[in-house]
């Protein structure tokens, strides 16, 4: 097998007269990718469609740049908004959903001849001995087997392990911005699981074969290996973006400290917490744009 590369990008399909991104509802027949997307430099993504739509509106107001409507066409799988050089796209819940989105975004960026694109996951998570409201800027990722910086795929019935690496400079820059904004922020490893309840040792799912002691022992082990937060996408996110030769960072706000509780309650301060990763990421993007002397702001 040759080394994988986005540059070896689907040699067979590219011989077809059209190319189709089915889960975005876009194709070369209905979209001029280069005209519409060539200026994209940042892709921001998180699970929820409503949160991404809200972030796009906030960024549009903050940067004084118009926001597109939802660019996904004839599909309800994902939503995507464009504000100048920034795409805001939701990825749904979990790595399988995220992997489809990333594949089709990589094809989009390739069809649009975009260069030097940075991806940021702007999400929510559970904290491991970290207070709700704290923003975790990931230093690395840990998979469900507790391996560092590895993502597991199954191809042709066989396991394939990929390096899952984040961009250290992006992480450092995001953390400095958080500190400058006086937002509670920490750096550390992020555990990604395929399951919200048992995979994260919650006690309040439909099934529970373990008790509070085993839960606390598991969380204690996570603390020992440097894990600060738990969510469901980061190993796939880091691996696919690294493999595609783009840069990736992950910036998630803690909604619950798992040492104290499991259940995410409906609370009004969630809305304020969920703005914190946006505040950091939008400031990062605006700094980058102004330092590159872009004419869009």
């Amino acid at each position: 097998m040759p080394a994988s590369s986005i540059n070896d990008f689907h040699p067979i399909a590219s011989a077809q007269p059209d190319d189709y991104l089915p889960h975005l509802g876009l194709s070369t027949l209905n979209t001029d990718f280069q005209a519409q997307f060539n200026d994209v430099k940042f892709v921001c993504t998180g699970g929820s469609s409503g949160r991404m739509s809200e972030y796009a509106k906030l960024f549009s107001a903050l940067a004084n740049v118009p926001s597109s409507g939802n660019l996904c066409n004839r599909t309800d799988r994902f939503v995507m908004y464009k504000t100048g050089p920034v795409l805001w796209v939701n990825h749904g819940i979990g790595m399988p959903s995220l992997s489809i989105l990333l594949c089709e975004l990589f094809k989009l960026l390739r069809l649009a001849c975009c260069t030097d694109v940075q991806f940021i996951r702007v999400g929510t998570c559970g904290g491991v001995d970290v207070k709700p409201g704290t923003v975790i800027i990931s230093e690395g990722v840990v998979n469900a087997a507790l391996e560092k910086n590895k993502f597991v795929q199954w191809i042709q019935g066989k396991q394939v392990k990929r390096d899952a690496l984040l961009d250290a400079q992006m992480g450092n820059d995001l953390f400095s911005i958080a500190v400058g904004l006086n937002l509670p922020a920490e750096r550390g490893l992020t555990l990604s699981t395929d399951d919200f309840y048992e995979g994260q040792m919650r006690l309040d799912g439909a099934f529970c074969d373990y008790g509070n002691e085993e839960k606390l022992a598991f969380l204690g082990h996570l603390i020992q290996i440097g894990v600060k937060n738990i969510e469901m996408e980061s190993t796939c996110f880091a691996a696919m973006i690294h493999r595609a030769k783009y840069s990736a960072a992950i910036c998630c706000v803690v909604l619950v400290n798992r040492m104290e509780m499991d259940t995410l309650m409906l609370r009004e301060f969630h809305a304020e917490f969920e703005k914190r990763p946006f505040e950091i990421v939008s400031r990062y993007i605006l700094n980058k744009i102004s330092s590159s002397n872009s004419d869009f702001v």
Copy 2:
């Protein structure tokens, strides 16, 4: 570890004054589960929110029973409609998303004291040497490691394998109905992967380390072991519902024959194809209701 059972259902959380289903946006504080859901006998689920909403409308008209609005509250993670004894809920893409939905639905059914509930996945899939438009009623499921009727979870950093078993009678009944309706239908095994592109050996994703020959060899092996279709949820669906002691069937329409092509094109006949699993499942539900002398129709 004790044997898992829905009856051992979160002993710790149940000591709390309220119970919360965060991804459905429902809690014992805002919902009288027994009053609202006690009559539920069927849960129909598929990936797309728009398709589930459409199915609820169609069933409402067909059975002459009102449909609720979207019952998910203050969340955009899932949508849920109720038409008499039938819930129509979308599960998003992939097993992690589905696992959250099922956990919270099991809690909902438990809080509502529902009994004898049947779950049907009403989805879309790729066919393996099967023509587009054919409906596959699954006889069993195959995981990404090509093991039959097993679902793999990771708990506490360790792999746990669960039995993933479907209800044979439900499958037989659905197949008989399909034949009676003159719809093209087949029975066989369903392969579930965590990945739409490489995991299913598509050649038109962003990455491709294999060629057409390897793809056809893989699909040929699937045919040999009895696989008729490929999608991204069935092993988790079968395992979790079996573990919760409910009954499960899977009824998916083929959108593309993977022996011939990979890309799902935007085609008008998709809408017609996507109604076929609904036609079968709605007829199944109406037969069940009339044979149980329910007074709702």
